[in-house]
Amino acid sequence: MLIIMKKNADEQALVQIKEYLINRNFDIHQSTGANRTIIGVIGDTDSLDQEKLEKMPGVHQVVRIAKEE
């Protein structure tokens, strides 16, 4: 799963979402770009509520990676 943060997302929003994921035992790969931050979520993300994540402050888009056949 990829969580793409808004361009204007503040640091507190990023801290909040990382805390949410790490407290649920997910590994993350954070990548901070010039304009926005992308968080790669590693693990069994089926248990994550995509809608809830999308409503969190600073989140632009949540992308689930399709399972391979």
């Binding site: 640091e11 801290v15 990382k18 805390e19 790490i22 407290n23 035992n25 590994d27 993350i28 790969h29 954070q30 990548s31 901070t32 770009g33 010039a34 590693i42």
Partner: protein, 95 residues
């Protein structure tokens, strides 16, 4: 220097980085153990911010600050992952 000589030097530095990464991970694991004993959170955003700020202030290039932050984000993400794996393993052993 020739390309071969430069690559030999890169190989030497990579081996050194490997040793340092593992040394750092070992220290992070020790901190993880202390955090667990004290019931402290694994994620400490304040500490991460301090690491990034310190690395940027000490950065003499040619990597820019953004690259330094991205590299250390990966190092920290992997330290946290290792800490989680070890904690879960400890839990299973106790069960």
């Amino acid at each position: 220097m020739t390309i071969d000589e430069l690559r030999t030097e890169i190989d030497r530095l990579d081996s050194e980085l490997l040793r340092i990464f593992n040394q750092r991970a070992g220290l992070a694991l020790q901190i993880g153990e202390i955090k667990k004993q004290r019931g402290m959170a694994v994620y400490d955003p304040r500490r991460e911010k301090l690491i990034f700020e310190r690395m940027k202030s000490e950065n003499g290039g040619p990597l820019d600050d953004g690259a330094i932050v991205r590299l250390f984000e990966r190092v920290i993400d992997e330290s946290r992952r290792l800490e989680r794996i070890m904690t879960n393993r400890d839990k299973r052993v106790k069960e």
